[in-house]
Assembly symmetry: C2
Homo-oligomer: 225 residues x 2
């Protein structure tokens, strides 16, 4: 089912889904590709191409059926199945992730918390208690956990990844600033906050350079809409 | 200077930079494109293409000069200039970001913390004290802050973005799960943790579907390396 969906399209589907949920809440039954594109923050040609991969072309003059498109995207993303998450590394970031409401509202639940530091073990966060990483395999099996989130320092991340994979986890979200080696069949997504900052730095730098000689657009010379 | 660098290339440069710093620390003066590609977690053809955009082609049989390539990438990313960051929204995630060591080590410093909740104002985090959002414009000007990080709930994010832009901030890293409207000339990068989870869900879902009928690869049938 959609095995050849481009990775960039997959990455945009959650944005479309959020926009569609917003439209549904506001009482919209249908939406034009332009309206949905604006709400999702992409251009409408890209959106139409993305949705055509799902077999959704909308209806000329009417647009897309909001409820139907939500159902289609949720099916493609596998969101009809509730997924359990193990969170490893309960420092500042781990605490933030453990308390992050956005997971639960979108079909994911943090089912277990782990750390290697004795001082952290036994801490209660919400309804969960932090366990020692040595209990990982047992808890992953008992809870049916399929996704691991690594919020440890970089030096610990590879070992934690090995333990997660050994325990049967097949998807990892990695916040540690390092590349993980995992067997094929295991998917890793990386979130590196400093990388995001460096990308912004590039744009700051470019703006500073291009701002020097570029004349202002003459006022009153309207561009076509 | 490199105004037409593809956005995907820009996004990979920080990964190359991290890998290069690791190689330098380990005493390497040169690195092959294959070696650097492995360390950065990309394929080597993509890496060579990316670096050719910077005018770096390496030397046949020798590879890339590690120190030179670090200097080139840092120049392109504008990392030679120290950049100050304002962090708005001091909940769980804001606390994690305020304490995130990865910013300082890569040329960014969190120079000011803001919240709108009276109960948060005055809290000390490290060397900083949380200020009221009403002081934003004054502090941004006084500190020369160019980057804003939004870690507020979604409902507050657009107003905060407007305040940041009004104060003169030209780059925003947005952790709130919503699309921001900003004037042209302001760059926004979005980090949405639930989106990352949904992308992993897609891969979990696909693996579950394809796992059903697919036979195991016969043991002993080696694939060419």
């Amino acid at each position: 089912m959609f095995p050849d969906l481009p990775e960039a399209t997959v990455a945009r589907l959650p944005e479309y889904l959020r926009a569609l949920h917003g439209l549904a809440q506001d009482g919209h039954d249908t939406v034009s590709s332009e309206g949905l594109a604006t709400a999702a923050g992409v251009n409408s040609a890209k959106l139409r191409k993305d949705l055509s991969h799902l077999g959704s072309y909308g209806t000329r003059g009417v647009g897309y059926d909001v409820a139907l498109l939500i159902t289609q995207i949720e099916a493609v993303l596998g969101l009809t199945k509730h997924r359990k998450v193990a969170l490893v590394g309960i420092g500042n970031l781990g605490h933030a992730l453990a308390g992050y409401g956005g997971f639960a509202s979108r079909g994911f639940s943090v089912a277990a918390l782990f750390d290697a530091e004795r001082s952290q073990i036994g801490e209660r966060i919400g309804t969960l208690v932090v366990r020692h990483i040595d209990e990982l395999a047992e808890v992953v099996a008992a809870e049916g956990i399929s996704i691991g989130v690594i919020a440890t320092p970089a030096r610990a991340a590879q070992q934690v990844a090995d333990q997660l994979v050994g325990a049967g986890v097949t998807s990892i979200l990695n916040f540690a600033p390092c590349v993980l080696n995992v067997p094929s069949g295991v998917d890793v997504r990386k979130v590196d906050l400093a990388v995001e900052m460096q990308i912004l730095s590039f744009h700051e730098h470019r703006k500073a350079l291009t701002a020097l000689p570029a004349p202002e657009q003459p006022a009153g010379e309207a561009t076509g809409s």
